[in-house]
């Protein structure tokens, strides 16, 4: 018998009708794809990262396709806080979907100023702090790859909003588990694992990088096994929810991340290829669970453990 399974999940104070979110930077501000995909059907829409000042982004070329993936070097192009609040926020509210605003800053102080401005705005259900952009000179993944810095920053941000606070981490670190624990101790409601992997591609004809900058962030199916392992590592390190991200193209991929313990998943690059991808992930996930007679997504979550996992179950959820 195949009833529609209950896909609802909780991320801190935020209740999502299903565990599928759009990854930051791959779904605009929610309205660009609205005529082909009603954002209300998704767990939440995560916006393009907003910074205090507008950013022009990196010079061309910003995209290079590689085997099973794509390198991007966008450089956090965005309209900045003022225009976001004036022009984008009203549109986001009009979607009546759950919205998570992605915030980026070069210092803890910058993030605090963003959250002071937006933390109490109605219509934003959560904030994902982008601690992991691989393509900016300052305030990117390397700057934020310190557990103490993340902990102190989140402790500073925590009192500024009652909405969900999510920390997005880079996979290019020595011990992602430590960073995730720092975020948890600082007061984050959830951790996203992971942002893109730093990668390169060379044009041997011209003898130069295929991107305007030397490196970019790799996304797409090529990184899914890598991202899944990082997600697994983070799940075992913290007791707060983990949002799995990296190469999720369909419902099957999403269920893999949830099997290793992710509470929810983010769909990114897939939306560039099929704008309805995130909704298709929800539909496929529901169908696959129903086929297996699973009625609640919670019953699937973490089903991999403990049999496949030799590590101590520190911080595992019940």
């Amino acid at each position: 018998m195949s009833r529609t399974p209950d896909l609802a999940v909780r991320i801190g104070p935020l209740r999502l009708k299903n565990p599928v979110l759009t990854a930051s930077g791959t779904f605009g501000y929610g309205d660009e794809y609205a005529h082909v995909l009603d954002p209300k059907r998704l767990g939440a829409v995560i916006t393009k990262t907003v910074t205090l000042k507008p950013r022009a982004g990196n010079p061309p070329a910003r995209i290079a396709e590689t085997a099973g993936g794509m390198l991007t070097s966008i450089g956090l192009e965005n309209v900045g806080l003022e225009r976001f609040r004036r022009e984008k926020l009203p549109k986001l509210r009009a979607l009546s979907a759950t919205v998570v605003a992605s915030l980026g800053g070069e210092t803890p102080r910058e993030l605090a100023r963003l959250l002071e401005a937006l933390g109490g705005e109605p219509g934003i259900g959560g904030f994902e702090i982008n601690f992991s952009c691989p393509n900016v000179a300052r305030g990117g993944a390397i700057y934020w790859a310190h557990a103490r810095r993340l902990e102190r920053t989140l402790a500073m941000l925590r009192p500024l909003t009652r909405a969900a606070l999510i920390a997005k981490l880079s996979p290019d670190v020595t011990a992602i588990a430590e960073l995730a624990r720092g975020c948890e101790q600082g007061g984050a409601d959830a951790v996203t694992a992971v942002n893109t992997f730093v990668g390169m591609a060379v044009d041997i004809g011209g003898g130069r990088s295929r991107l305007g900058r030397a490196t970019g962030g790799l996304s797409g199916p090529a990184i899914k096994p890598l991202a899944l392992a990082r997600c697994h590592e983070v799940v075992r390190a913290v007791s707060i929810p983990v949002l799995g991200s990296g190469g999720i193209m369909n419902g099957r991929d999403a269920l893999e991340f949830i099997a290793v313990g992710a509470t929810a998943v983010q769909v990114g690059t897939a939306s560039f290829i099929r704008p309805r991808a995130a909704a298709q992930v929800v539909e496929e996930m529901a169908r696959l669970l129903a086929e297996r007679g699973i009625r609640r997504i919670e019953a699937w979550r973490g089903c991999l453990e403990p049999a496949a996992s030799p590590a101590p179950a520190a911080g595992r959820r019940a």
């Binding site: 605009g28 794809y33 022009a56 910003r62 396709e65 965005n78 003022e82 004036r86």
Partner: protein
């Protein structure tokens, strides 16, 4: 960003720049229909000479009709050797009872286009479109269409749209040699039918005028009555030269640009083209409505601000 933006109350949301048409500053026409992604069937796929292929796709009836200069993203069904769809300029729109047929002229040069080249009649392709802003064919003047190589394709489509407005075009077509005048026979046939005049140039002199299309333009332009308007498509160095010519002679000039793209819809911000100094200044003024989804004075996005741009809009020193 050099200028700080001042906060202003939102007034009725977000609008493209309003500049009177028929001036050199006229922005290319906005895409009026929203894009969608639909499955299409290959109805014709044949060799077009000079290493090019001609592809025709039958679209579902509800698919919005693209305008000249607009493009679509072609995505092969899995398993495909490439991940991302390939942007392709529309060369032909034919209305049929079952739904529109779209035509494309392309060269299989990379992994994606080589995979496309393997498509057979009745194979399926996902088509996302119509995308971008096409040629602003409402701009007044004698239409001078300038094609380099396979840039001929969208311009033939433009010529046919102009003909329906009762306007005949001067069609300048150039390539490095006679063999690279892609689809020349078809170009001649379609232009003859609509009464357009074809002028040829080759770098080696093997066909038409010995020289570039720019030299051809220099020869022909004095014989054309003002006002004139130029629409061009071809390699970027050629477009840069034509853009400078148009700016120098105060002739409204519109260029169809290319870029590597991922999404094609403005979301990924992956296809930036540098804007001109004057355009950056104009857009940096707080009251100027920014033209694309995210808005940014430094770079235009080829996919949504273009692919057709007015000559004054881009920084040709950084492009040509």
């Amino acid at each position: 960003m050099s200028r700080r933006e001042r906060a202003r109350p939102a007034r009725g949301g977000y609008r493209p720049a309003r500049i009177p048409v028929a001036t050199a500053a006229a922005p290319p026409a906005l895409a009026k229909t929203a894009w969608r992604q639909a499955e299409a069937r290959v109805t014709l796929h044949r060799d077009a000479g000079a290493g090019h292929r001609w592809l025709e796709l039958a679209m579902p009836r509800a698919f919005p009709l693209p305008g000249a200069g607009q493009f679509v993203q072609l995505l092969l069904e899995a398993p495909a050797p490439v991940l991302l769809p390939r942007p392709m300029s529309v060369a032909l729109v034919r209305r049929a009872a079952a739904g529109p047929v779209l035509g494309f002229l392309y060269a299989p040069v990379g992994d994606g286009t080589r995979a496309l080249a393997a498509l057979d009649v009745d194979d399926r392709v996902l088509v996302l479109g119509p995308l971008g802003r096409g040629f602003p064919l409402e701009v007044e003047g004698v239409p001078v269409l300038i094609a380099g190589g396979r840039g001929v394709a969208p311009l033939l489509f433009a010529a046919e749209t102009l003909e329906r407005q009762g306007r005949r075009c001067e069609f300048l077509f150039g390539a490095r040699d006679a063999a690279h005048l892609v689809a020349l026979a078809e170009t001649r046939r379609r232009l003859d039918r609509m009464g357009g005049r074809l002028h040829l140039a080759t770098d080696d002199g093997s066909r038409g005028v010995h020289g570039t299309v720019l030299e051809l333009l220099d020869r022909i332009a004095p014989h054309l009555p003002a006002p004139r308007v130029i629409h061009a498509c071809g390699p970027h160095p050629m477009l840069a030269a034509i853009a400078r010519w148009g700016l120098r002679h105060s002739v409204p000039t519109f260029l169809a640009m290319e870029s590597i793209m991922a999404c094609g819809t403005g979301v990924c911000r992956g296809c930036p083209l540098p804007r001109s100094e004057s355009e950056r200044r104009r857009l940096s003024r707080a009251r100027a409505p920014l033209p694309s989804l995210y808005g940014n004075p430094e770079f235009a996005m080829c996919c949504t601000d273009g692919p057709v741009f007015a000559a004054h809009a881009l920084d040709w020193e950084r492009l040509g």
